[in-house]
Amino acid sequence: MSRVRVLAGTRKGAFILSADGKRDKWDVSGPHFAGWEIYHFKGSPADPNRLYASQTSAWFGQVLQRSNDGGKTWETVGNNFAYEGTPGTHLWYDGTPHPWEFKRVWHLEPSLKDPDTVLAGVEDAALFRSTDGGQTWNERTGLRRHASASNWAPGAGGMALHTILLDQKTPGRMFGAISAAGAFRSDDDGATWKPINKGLVSSQIPNPTAEVGHCVHRIAMHPSRPNTLFMQKHWDVMRTHDAGESWEEVSGNLPTDFGFVIDVHAHEPNTVYVVPIKSDSEHYPLDGKLAVYRSRSGGNDWQPLTKGLPQANCYVNILRDAMAVDSLNSCGIYFGTTGGQVYASADAGDSWTTIVHDLPPVLSVEVQTLP
């Protein structure tokens, strides 16, 4: 029987949650790297026992961890993320130039084919790549040196390349998203990038339809339809069918179209999940009722999914990297909250159970479907 392994990164360590295909009994392992922030924690599609974890601390900086046995044992690997050449400046919150400074790895994206190749999206926004299992890192400079980069500015959480999506069908194509610069696409394996923000409207910036400057919180795709992307923007849920050349809003009947996470059902490319959040500043579910919203039509028509989720006094947030899906026949959906809960649905969102409810604030959730 297949198994699933949920990789949860939290403010105070990493946790591995394991279950068989029924997904009703969970074994919890952790905390790994206790006391450290684990911004992201992901397995290699090419070798599920190869895991990478971004371990950070305001005191001690960035550490990268690697496991070759599914998280039983770990080794530290390289943590030298040096921008190539003179880093230059981007805009600071007050609009003044600010030097590019490495702060942390927000997102790790292992290669689809090679366990030793992994991409890192970092703050301040840039893309790094390792081809030796994380021992050494080299910047793919095309993103940070994009002509618009000196005009990028941080969102409240920092200016990070927080999303990296690899296109399985088009060699060399990948997508990235930066808060608050927007979405970008590379067609040459990350060497060069173009902004793909046409159709986004952000009323919070001086030019609401600017080429860059949009606070894109997360983008998601189904592997079988990589030209169709779904985006949770600061406000607005968006969709493109042409690999980002143009976007349309699909917020539809959502009670609020602010949020952070967005993901796609493993077997239904038109089925999308978001968690609406009240904002601009509250960042918790509307009326204290936690609900995942699902659209089976690629957006616009959304259905609240609440069975098993708290419907009173719930004031948590779900951060941008904290939702994932498994690929079992009955697709499993998972998300973690800033209140330390990790929720799971083994029936595509119809009902939810709490795997764990008292972890440190959850920063990221990934899932591995294992044979």
């Binding site: 790297f33 206790a34 006391g35 450290w36 601390s57 305001a58 005191w59 001690f60 900086g61 960035q62 550490v63 530290t76 943590n79 030298n80 993320f81 040096a82 490495f102």
Partner: protein, 98 residues
């Protein structure tokens, strides 16, 4: 051999106890002490000093014989008591809590 005392998080990272002993050839300074520490425990590279600037991380301080040497030149010779191993060279993290 000199003794270096590490904060708890770095003890865990390096899989060591509170204190480690390291051999230094030449003048014992904050810089040579951290150089030797990183050579012996490569996983500590970048955690005490920034990789690029080699500056001490802002939430860490260095002490020797109850004296704060954080603001001194990294090449200042450390006291004989540290050189001879009678006193440890302390790497201390800023207090956090509350």
């Amino acid at each position: 051999m000199i003794r270096v005392e590490l904060p708890a998080q770095l003890q865990t990272l390096a899989h060591v106890g509170r204190e480690v002993e390291i051999q230094i050839d030449g003048v014992v300074t904050p810089r040579s002490s951290i150089d030797a520490l990183e050579a012996r425990y490569p996983m500590l590279r970048g955690t005490i000093r920034d990789h690029i600037t080699q500056q001490r991380r802002p939430y860490l301080r260095f002490f020797a014989c109850e004296q704060d040497v954080s603001m001194e030149s990294p090449d200042i010779p450390l006291p004989d008591a540290v050189v001879l191993g009678r006193e440890p060279f302390l790497v201390i993290g800023a207090m956090s809590g509350g």
